[in-house]
Protein backbone atom coordinates (compact mmCIF):
# COMPACT_ATOMS: atom_id res chain seq x y z
CA UNK A 1 0.00 0.00 0.00
CA UNK A 2 1.06 3.55 -0.69
CA UNK A 3 -0.21 6.33 1.52
CA UNK A 4 -0.92 9.74 0.03
CA UNK A 5 -0.84 12.86 2.17
CA UNK A 6 -4.32 13.91 3.23
CA UNK A 7 -5.38 16.69 5.54
CA UNK A 8 -7.97 16.42 8.30
CA UNK A 9 -8.29 12.65 8.35
CA UNK A 10 -10.52 10.22 6.54
CA UNK A 11 -14.33 9.94 6.56
CA UNK A 12 -14.25 13.63 7.20
CA UNK A 13 -16.11 16.29 5.20
CA UNK A 14 -12.96 18.43 5.32
CA UNK A 15 -10.49 15.82 4.13
CA UNK A 16 -8.22 17.15 1.39
CA UNK A 17 -5.70 15.53 -0.96
CA UNK A 18 -3.81 17.43 -3.65
CA UNK A 19 -3.63 15.96 -7.12
CA UNK A 20 0.13 16.56 -7.12
CA UNK A 21 0.46 14.26 -4.11
CA UNK A 22 -1.85 11.74 -5.73
CA UNK A 23 0.39 11.80 -8.81
CA UNK A 24 3.46 10.96 -6.69
CA UNK A 25 1.70 7.89 -5.31
CA UNK A 26 0.26 6.88 -8.68
CA UNK A 27 3.66 7.12 -10.33
CA UNK A 28 5.17 4.81 -7.71
CA UNK A 29 2.32 2.37 -8.27
CA UNK A 30 2.69 2.33 -12.05
CA UNK A 31 6.47 2.10 -11.64
CA UNK A 32 6.02 -1.06 -9.60
CA UNK A 33 3.74 -2.54 -12.25
CA UNK A 34 6.49 -1.98 -14.82
CA UNK A 35 8.95 -3.75 -12.51
CA UNK A 36 6.52 -6.68 -12.30
CA UNK A 37 6.83 -7.08 -16.04
CA UNK A 38 10.60 -6.91 -16.13
CA UNK A 39 11.91 -8.63 -12.98
CA UNK A 40 11.59 -12.40 -12.54
CA UNK A 41 12.00 -11.99 -8.77
CA UNK A 42 8.34 -11.07 -8.66
CA UNK A 43 7.13 -14.31 -10.18
CA UNK A 44 4.76 -15.95 -7.73
CA UNK A 45 2.56 -14.58 -5.02
CA UNK A 46 3.66 -11.83 -2.62
CA UNK A 47 0.95 -11.95 -0.01
CA UNK A 48 1.99 -14.58 2.50
CA UNK A 49 3.83 -12.48 5.10
CA UNK A 50 1.69 -12.19 8.20
CA UNK A 51 2.99 -12.05 11.73
CA UNK A 52 3.98 -10.20 14.85
CA UNK A 53 5.72 -7.03 13.73
Amino acid sequence: MIFVRNEYGSHNPDEAMSLDDFAVGAQALTGLLRIFLSEPVFEGACYDAVGDG
Binding site: I2, R5, E7, L29
Partner: protein
Protein backbone atom coordinates in the same frame (compact mmCIF):
# COMPACT_ATOMS: atom_id res chain seq x y z
CA UNK B 1 -10.77 -6.93 -8.55
CA UNK B 2 -12.96 -4.43 -6.78
CA UNK B 3 -13.79 -4.65 -3.10
CA UNK B 4 -15.20 -2.31 -0.51
CA UNK B 5 -16.13 -2.10 3.16
CA UNK B 6 -12.63 -3.08 4.32
CA UNK B 7 -13.09 -0.72 7.24
CA UNK B 8 -15.66 -1.48 9.88
CA UNK B 9 -17.60 1.79 9.84
CA UNK B 10 -20.88 0.20 8.77
CA UNK B 11 -20.55 -3.40 9.86
CA UNK B 12 -18.35 -4.49 12.74
CA UNK B 13 -16.47 -6.96 10.56
CA UNK B 14 -12.75 -6.68 9.79
CA UNK B 15 -11.92 -6.65 6.06
CA UNK B 16 -15.44 -7.46 4.93
CA UNK B 17 -14.74 -6.91 1.24
CA UNK B 18 -11.62 -9.01 0.81
CA UNK B 19 -12.75 -11.59 3.36
CA UNK B 20 -15.93 -12.09 1.36
CA UNK B 21 -14.04 -12.23 -1.93
CA UNK B 22 -11.81 -15.04 -0.66
CA UNK B 23 -14.49 -17.01 1.20
CA UNK B 24 -12.96 -16.29 4.60
CA UNK B 25 -15.91 -14.76 6.44
CA UNK B 26 -17.79 -16.53 9.20
CA UNK B 27 -21.34 -16.93 7.84
CA UNK B 28 -22.62 -15.69 11.21
CA UNK B 29 -21.50 -12.22 10.12
CA UNK B 30 -24.57 -12.03 7.87
CA UNK B 31 -26.63 -11.29 10.97
CA UNK B 32 -24.47 -8.36 12.11
CA UNK B 33 -26.39 -5.10 12.06
CA UNK B 34 -25.37 -2.01 10.16
CA UNK B 35 -24.21 0.64 12.60
CA UNK B 36 -26.59 3.39 11.56
CA UNK B 37 -29.89 1.69 10.70
CA UNK B 38 -29.66 -1.74 12.34
CA UNK B 39 -30.26 -3.61 9.09
CA UNK B 40 -28.40 -6.92 8.87
CA UNK B 41 -25.56 -7.48 6.42
CA UNK B 42 -27.63 -10.12 4.66
CA UNK B 43 -30.60 -7.79 4.22
CA UNK B 44 -28.31 -4.98 3.09
CA UNK B 45 -26.63 -7.18 0.47
CA UNK B 46 -29.99 -8.34 -0.88
CA UNK B 47 -31.32 -4.80 -0.96
CA UNK B 48 -28.31 -3.71 -3.01
CA UNK B 49 -28.64 -6.61 -5.45
CA UNK B 50 -25.89 -8.86 -4.09
CA UNK B 51 -26.18 -12.55 -3.27
CA UNK B 52 -25.25 -13.45 0.34
CA UNK B 53 -25.07 -17.17 -0.49
CA UNK B 54 -21.29 -17.27 -1.19
CA UNK B 55 -20.67 -15.91 2.31
CA UNK B 56 -23.03 -18.50 3.80
CA UNK B 57 -21.22 -21.26 1.89
CA UNK B 58 -17.74 -19.77 2.53
CA UNK B 59 -17.29 -19.86 -1.23
CA UNK B 60 -14.43 -18.02 -2.91
CA UNK B 61 -15.32 -15.47 -5.50
CA UNK B 62 -11.64 -14.85 -6.26
CA UNK B 63 -8.87 -17.45 -6.50
CA UNK B 64 -5.70 -16.20 -4.74
CA UNK B 65 -3.50 -18.48 -6.88
CA UNK B 66 -4.24 -16.21 -9.81
CA UNK B 67 -3.23 -13.04 -7.99
CA UNK B 68 0.39 -11.99 -7.70
CA UNK B 69 -0.06 -9.07 -5.31
CA UNK B 70 -2.61 -6.58 -4.11
CA UNK B 71 -1.53 -2.97 -4.54
CA UNK B 72 -3.46 -0.03 -3.27
CA UNK B 73 -3.14 3.73 -3.28
CA UNK B 74 -4.84 5.15 -0.21
CA UNK B 75 -5.06 8.46 1.56
CA UNK B 76 -3.32 8.53 4.91
CA UNK B 77 -5.96 8.82 7.61
CA UNK B 78 -3.70 10.51 10.12
CA UNK B 79 -1.44 13.57 10.23
CA UNK B 80 2.03 12.03 9.80
CA UNK B 81 2.70 12.96 6.17
CA UNK B 82 1.32 16.46 6.64
CA UNK B 83 3.56 16.94 9.66
CA UNK B 84 6.61 15.66 7.82
CA UNK B 85 5.93 17.58 4.63
CA UNK B 86 5.95 14.42 2.51
CA UNK B 87 3.56 13.69 -0.37
CA UNK B 88 3.48 9.90 -0.03
CA UNK B 89 4.81 6.94 1.95
CA UNK B 90 5.20 3.19 1.61
CA UNK B 91 3.17 1.21 4.13
CA UNK B 92 5.31 -1.29 6.02
CA UNK B 93 2.59 -3.16 7.88
CA UNK B 94 -1.00 -3.09 9.01
CA UNK B 95 -1.31 -2.86 12.75
CA UNK B 96 -3.39 -5.50 14.45
CA UNK B 97 -6.77 -4.14 15.51
CA UNK B 98 -9.33 -4.99 18.14
CA UNK B 99 -12.53 -3.04 18.48
CA UNK B 100 -14.19 -3.48 21.85
CA UNK B 101 -17.88 -2.69 21.57
CA UNK B 102 -19.45 -2.01 24.94
CA UNK B 103 -22.63 -0.69 26.38
CA UNK B 104 -22.62 1.35 29.53
CA UNK B 105 -25.36 2.83 31.64
CA UNK B 106 -25.77 4.82 34.80
CA UNK B 107 -28.81 4.86 37.02
CA UNK B 108 -29.49 8.44 36.00
CA UNK B 109 -30.69 9.72 32.66
CA UNK B 110 -27.21 10.35 31.28
CA UNK B 111 -23.75 8.94 31.68
CA UNK B 112 -21.62 11.25 33.76
CA UNK B 113 -17.99 11.83 32.93
CA UNK B 114 -15.48 12.53 35.71
CA UNK B 115 -14.79 15.98 34.32
CA UNK B 116 -18.45 16.82 34.22
CA UNK B 117 -18.56 16.74 30.45
CA UNK B 118 -22.00 15.57 29.40
CA UNK B 119 -22.36 12.67 27.02
CA UNK B 120 -25.21 10.80 25.45
CA UNK B 121 -26.64 13.93 23.89
CA UNK B 122 -23.47 14.60 21.90
CA UNK B 123 -22.83 11.54 19.74
CA UNK B 124 -20.44 13.35 17.40
CA UNK B 125 -18.04 14.25 20.18
CA UNK B 126 -14.68 13.05 18.81
CA UNK B 127 -13.21 12.11 22.18
CA UNK B 128 -15.73 10.62 24.50
CA UNK B 129 -15.76 10.96 28.27
CA UNK B 130 -15.28 7.21 28.42
CA UNK B 131 -11.91 7.62 26.81
CA UNK B 132 -11.09 10.00 29.61
CA UNK B 133 -12.22 7.43 32.12
CA UNK B 134 -9.98 4.76 30.65
CA UNK B 135 -7.06 7.12 30.35
CA UNK B 136 -7.52 8.36 33.89
CA UNK B 137 -7.49 4.78 35.08
CA UNK B 138 -3.92 4.46 33.88
CA UNK B 139 -4.69 1.89 31.24
CA UNK B 140 -2.56 3.56 28.57
CA UNK B 141 0.45 4.24 30.75
CA UNK B 142 1.55 0.65 31.03
CA UNK B 143 4.37 -1.04 29.19
CA UNK B 144 5.86 1.96 27.38
CA UNK B 145 8.44 -0.27 25.70
CA UNK B 146 5.79 -1.46 23.27
CA UNK B 147 3.92 0.91 21.01
CA UNK B 148 0.16 0.66 21.05
CA UNK B 149 -2.75 2.98 20.64
CA UNK B 150 -6.19 3.23 22.07
CA UNK B 151 -8.86 5.34 20.45
CA UNK B 152 -12.43 6.02 21.34
CA UNK B 153 -14.09 5.50 17.99
CA UNK B 154 -17.72 5.91 18.95
CA UNK B 155 -19.82 7.09 21.83
CA UNK B 156 -23.51 7.43 21.21
CA UNK B 157 -26.88 6.80 22.81
CA UNK B 158 -28.34 3.49 21.77
CA UNK B 159 -30.96 0.89 22.31
CA UNK B 160 -29.55 -2.09 24.12
CA UNK B 161 -30.89 -5.60 24.65
CA UNK B 162 -30.69 -5.04 28.39
CA UNK B 163 -32.34 -1.64 28.30
CA UNK B 164 -34.37 -0.77 31.33
CA UNK B 165 -36.82 2.01 31.95
CA UNK B 166 -34.59 3.86 34.37
CA UNK B 167 -31.35 3.48 32.47
CA UNK B 168 -30.08 5.15 29.37
CA UNK B 169 -27.45 3.10 27.58
CA UNK B 170 -24.53 4.46 25.64
CA UNK B 171 -22.70 2.48 23.01
CA UNK B 172 -18.99 2.87 23.42
CA UNK B 173 -16.19 1.55 21.21
CA UNK B 174 -12.51 1.34 22.03
CA UNK B 175 -10.18 0.70 19.12
CA UNK B 176 -6.84 -0.88 20.01
CA UNK B 177 -3.98 -1.04 17.51
CA UNK B 178 -0.46 -2.40 17.69
CA UNK B 179 2.07 -4.16 15.48
CA UNK B 180 2.70 -6.65 18.28
CA UNK B 181 0.29 -9.52 18.85
CA UNK B 182 1.67 -9.94 22.36
CA UNK B 183 0.92 -6.32 23.21
CA UNK B 184 -2.59 -6.72 21.86
CA UNK B 185 -3.21 -9.67 24.16
CA UNK B 186 -1.75 -7.95 27.23
CA UNK B 187 -3.71 -4.73 26.76
CA UNK B 188 -6.95 -6.57 26.00
CA UNK B 189 -6.59 -8.57 29.20
CA UNK B 190 -5.94 -5.42 31.20
CA UNK B 191 -8.93 -3.76 29.61
CA UNK B 192 -11.19 -6.57 30.80
CA UNK B 193 -9.71 -6.46 34.28
CA UNK B 194 -10.23 -2.74 34.67
CA UNK B 195 -13.88 -2.84 33.80
CA UNK B 196 -15.00 -3.69 37.32
CA UNK B 197 -12.90 -0.96 38.91
CA UNK B 198 -14.18 1.65 36.50
CA UNK B 199 -17.76 0.54 37.02
CA UNK B 200 -17.40 0.98 40.77
CA UNK B 201 -15.53 4.27 40.62
CA UNK B 202 -17.95 5.95 38.25
CA UNK B 203 -21.13 4.11 39.23
CA UNK B 204 -21.81 2.84 35.74
CA UNK B 205 -22.65 -0.63 34.51
CA UNK B 206 -20.63 -1.84 31.55
CA UNK B 207 -21.57 -4.77 29.34
CA UNK B 208 -18.63 -5.95 27.28
CA UNK B 209 -19.58 -6.99 23.78
CA UNK B 210 -17.69 -9.14 21.33
CA UNK B 211 -14.49 -7.81 19.83
CA UNK B 212 -13.73 -7.69 16.15
CA UNK B 213 -10.12 -8.66 15.69
CA UNK B 214 -7.63 -8.65 12.87
CA UNK B 215 -3.96 -9.68 13.16
CA UNK B 216 -0.95 -7.57 12.27
CA UNK B 217 0.17 -8.00 8.67
CA UNK B 218 3.66 -7.16 7.48
CA UNK B 219 3.85 -6.10 3.84
CA UNK B 220 6.05 -8.04 1.44
CA UNK B 221 9.66 -6.81 1.79
CA UNK B 222 10.33 -7.01 -1.96
CA UNK B 223 7.36 -4.82 -2.79
CA UNK B 224 8.30 -2.36 -0.07
CA UNK B 225 11.89 -2.09 -1.27
CA UNK B 226 10.87 -1.49 -4.87
CA UNK B 227 8.26 1.07 -3.92
CA UNK B 228 10.76 2.93 -1.72
CA UNK B 229 13.16 3.09 -4.67
CA UNK B 230 10.42 4.76 -6.72
CA UNK B 231 9.86 7.66 -4.31
CA UNK B 232 12.04 10.76 -4.54
CA UNK B 233 11.71 11.16 -0.77
CA UNK B 234 11.33 7.59 0.46
CA UNK B 235 9.52 7.10 3.76
CA UNK B 236 7.93 4.05 5.36
CA UNK B 237 5.22 3.95 8.00
CA UNK B 238 2.74 1.48 9.47
CA UNK B 239 -0.95 1.71 8.72
CA UNK B 240 -3.35 2.04 11.59
CA UNK B 241 -0.63 2.60 14.14
CA UNK B 242 -2.54 5.17 16.09
CA UNK B 243 -2.92 7.69 13.33
CA UNK B 244 -6.33 6.63 12.09
CA UNK B 245 -8.90 9.09 13.30
CA UNK B 246 -12.16 7.83 14.67
CA UNK B 247 -15.10 7.88 12.33
CA UNK B 248 -17.78 10.11 13.79
CA UNK B 249 -21.48 9.60 13.10
CA UNK B 250 -21.50 13.00 11.38
CA UNK B 251 -18.81 12.07 8.90
CA UNK B 252 -20.00 8.45 8.52
CA UNK B 253 -23.30 9.74 7.23
CA UNK B 254 -21.46 11.20 4.27
CA UNK B 255 -19.72 7.97 3.34
CA UNK B 256 -21.46 6.02 0.56
Amino acid sequence: MAIRAEESAWFDIAYLGSGGAFGLLDPACLAIARSDNGQSLEATLKQRGFDPQPIRARRRLLDPSGIRAYLELHIEQGPTLVARGLPAAVVSAYAAASAFAMHAASASMAIRAPSGVPTGATPSRPRSPFFTIWRASGCNKKRPARIWFLTSGSCSPTRHARAEQDRRWTRFVLDLRSLSDTTMEVVAAEHALRRSGISAAYRVRIDLGATSDSPAAVMDSRLRARLMSLLDRPFEMASGAGTTRPCSPRSASRTP
